[in-house]
């Protein structure tokens, strides 16, 4: 209790009707209604049905009321409830997506920005609505060679680097991606990317209840993986990491998988001698929900930061398991206008206030959603004059002499 436990991959073929047929489903009914979930939920105060009440309504046969309300659109899938639940109920992973799927089917009107992001993901393989043919356009802007598997399909590679959507298309995501390529190259990693063949891993679609879209993407990505020979998969997407680790095994996925920050932390002894440039930054690290609470990777990104000469690491009030979500997960990335209309405080704004109070001048992150969300929030308060947002890998690349 209190620790984010690493758990075995689960095959989620559960439905709300068949919950009792599966150990994780039966666990839901052992809820003691303590309310820790609702208390720790960043939007618990605005939800009509936070997790505790959802389970209460489920047990009372009143779930219909929950799924006909739009309460669950406020869930950003931050794993806070699941990490703190004294019963270990897999709320974010199992129960909430099932309830959200039903909510989604009954919504009288899907918020426009969210509907567009989902349609784009289905049509173009990315929520931004950018053409698939431009997904690897960033490769031309790097100084280091980046191998695209389709150009040389028969040659095996050690690491398949699954870049993901915001990191491929968003300008600040591309900064991260160029930095990652630079660090991989400096370490001599044998890596390749799928390039334009890559499509979103779809984890956020799954978390918000669009299981059909997730399945479509999973089928597609698995078929692409089977075309090539590689030993392991490393991804820049924290949510993508979760998809590959916990969902893809249902279709036979067996590759050792890492997020870039963890992959690099494992090679710190090789990496540290390359970090020769001194960066005089005071850095506070924001634990991303997927890497942190869900998987327990709290120390690895901090080890990377402390390895950079001149970097001083300070902590925000809510760190590690208590980290406050940036608000991007579970569809939240495309619901800012909806939350604003409802008068909710944006979670990214809540978080940057803490970042500013920490005394840091760099807010370090490890999930692609966080960069634009925090940069925007900093501007809202005028903190952007004193603080920048950088992915951990961007800082590493900066510390490597050109």
């Amino acid at each position: 209790m209190g620790e984010a436990a690493a758990h075995e991959p689960t095959i989620c073929e559960l439905t709300l009707d068949t919950l009792a047929s599966h150990p994780e489903g039966r666990k839901v009914f052992t809820c003691i209604q303590c309310g820790t979930c609702a208390g720790t939920c960043p939007y618990g105060d605005v939800m009509d049905y936070p997790p505790r009440r959802i389970i209460g309504m489920l047990r009372a046969g009143l779930l219909e009321k929950v799924i006909t309300s739009d309460s669950l659109l406020a869930c950003v899938a931050c794993y806070a409830c699941m990490a703190k639940c004294p019963r270990g109920i897999q709320l974010t992973e199992v129960l909430l997506p099932l309830v959200k799927e039903q909510t989604f089917l009954r919504l009288p009107e899907t918020p426009a920005e969210l509907a567009k992001a989902l349609e784009n993901t289905l049509r173009y393989g990315n929520p931004e609505g950018e053409p698939a043919r431009k997904r690897a356009a960033w490769v031309k802007t790097t100084d280091v060679p980046v191998r695209i598997l389709a150009e040389d399909p028969k040659r095996p590679v050690d690491v398949l680097w699954f870049v993901e959507c915001y990191t491929s298309y968003h300008p600040r995501g591309q900064d991260n991606t160029r930095a990652t390529a630079k660090v991989f190259h400096a370490l001599g990693v044998d890596f390749a990317i799928l390039g334009n063949e890559e499509k979103c891993a779809g984890e956020c679609a799954r978390l918000l209840g669009e299981s059909g879209l997730f399945d479509t993407l999973m089928d597609y990505n698995m078929a692409v993986f089977q075309k090539y020979t590689f030993n392991r998969l490393v991804t820049s997407g924290a949510h993508a990491y979760d998809a590959f680790k916990y969902q893809y095994p249902a279709l036979g996925y067996r590759y050792p998988t890492d997020h870039t920050a963890v992959f690099l932390a494992r090679q710190l002894d090789k990496l540290k001698p390359l970090l020769t440039r001194k960066l005089d930054y005071t850095v506070t690290y924001h634990d991303s929900c997927c890497l942190g609470r869900h998987n327990g990777f709290y120390e690895e990104p901090r080890q990377l930061l402390r390895a950079i000469p001149g970097v001083k690491v300070v902590e925000m009030t809510h760190n590690r398991i208590n980290s406050i979500c940036c608000g991007g997960g579970g569809g939240g990335m495309w619901l800012d206008t909806y939350y604003k209309a409802k008068g909710y405080e944006r979670l990214s704004e809540r978080r940057v206030k803490e970042a500013a109070a920490s005394g840091a001048n760099v807010l370090a992150v490890s999930c692609p959603y966080e960069v634009s969300r925090f940069e925007d929030a900093l501007k809202v308060f005028g903190y952007d004059k004193h603080m920048v947002v950088r992915d951990v890998v961007e800082l590493l690349a900066e510390a490597i002499a050109a």
């Binding site: 799927e101 989604f104 089917l105 009107e109 899907t110 426009a112 969210l114 509907a115 989902l118 349609e119 289905l122 049509r123 173009y124 609505g129 950018e130 053409p131 043919r133 209840g209 669009e210 299981s211 059909g212 879209l213 399945d215 479509t216």
Partner: protein, 259 residues
């Protein structure tokens, strides 16, 4: 009440579209076809009317790549029937396409009588918005375009139709049914349908096919050339304090004889 929704697949301009080797048409390999945006609004308006009047909605489309997807999506959203107009050439020009649809309505089973035909008022490859009026002419029915609301009185077979005008004005028309309406925007944004529902529709529902009789439709217009716009130059950025920039701007305008 029976409502027909005509859907059309059009080139997606998100992709880089290329001109074919003949210099007069689009390269089909560079195209991704998607449902025309205002047709999605037409379908949404039809589904809203279905909910209000317990109407039957039939979605119909000319066969081409992606038409099946669009028709199954229409079924998943709540259309009662989906019909594909097969046979014949693909990539028909607007007039020939509208004529083909009209022949299909006469030939197809249970496609008449219709009380209302809804389709998008224009499409990216039909900016003049000719499909709907040409179809109406073939059917001998009234037509109104740029429609933003349809209120139907099934008992009297009449409708009150709102048409949008520039300047924020709108007009209300009394339109006898049956009629063809070109929808600009539905009363609500087109509904999102979860992928699982579309996949379920693909498994359990069917798209019917109708093959209309062929007729020669000579194209009245000959395309001489199709080409992508060439970048003639680049924007010149003016830097400096506002007074400096204003001064430079005046110089440039005067130099072009505009002052």
């Amino acid at each position: 009440m029976n409502i027909l929704v005509l859907l059309k697949m059009v080139p997606d301009v998100v992709e880089d579209i290329e001109v074919a080797a003949d210099g007069k048409s689009l390269d089909p390999d560079s195209l991704r076809l998607i449902p025309s945006e205002s047709d999605e609004h037409a379908l949404e308006e039809a589904l809203i009317l279905k909910e209000r009047h317990a109407a039957k909605v039939t979605a119909i489309a000319l066969d081409c790549e992606g038409a099946d997807d669009a028709l199954f999506t229409a079924l998943a959203k709540g259309a009662d029937r989906a019909v594909k107009i097969a046979g014949g050439a693909t990539g028909l020009a607007t007039r020939a396409g509208a004529a083909r649809v009209a022949r299909a309505l006469s030939a197809g089973q249970g496609l008449q009588p219709m009380d209302l035909v809804l389709t998008g008022t224009q499409a990216i490859d039909d900016l003049e918005g000719l499909t709907a009026p040409l179809l109406a002419h073939r059917l001998g029915w009234p037509y109104l375009g740029i429609v933003t609301q349809v209120v139907v009185d099934p008992a009297s077979a009449r409708s009150t139709v709102t048409k949008e005008y520039p300047g924020g004005c709108h007009g209300e028309f009394d339109v006898p049914l049956p009629a063809v309406l070109g929808v600009q925007a539905a009363e609500k944004p087109p509904r999102y349908v979860p992928v699982a529902k579309v996949r379920a529709a693909m498994k359990s529902l069917k798209i019917e096919t109708v093959v209309p009789p062929e007729e020669d439709e000579p194209a009245p217009l000959d395309i001489l050339q199709m080409a992508k716009p060439q970048a003639a130059g680049h924007a010149e950025m003016l830097d400096g304090a506002p007074e400096e920039v204003a001064g430079k701007l005046v110089e440039i305008l005067a130099g072009h004889g505009l002052l």
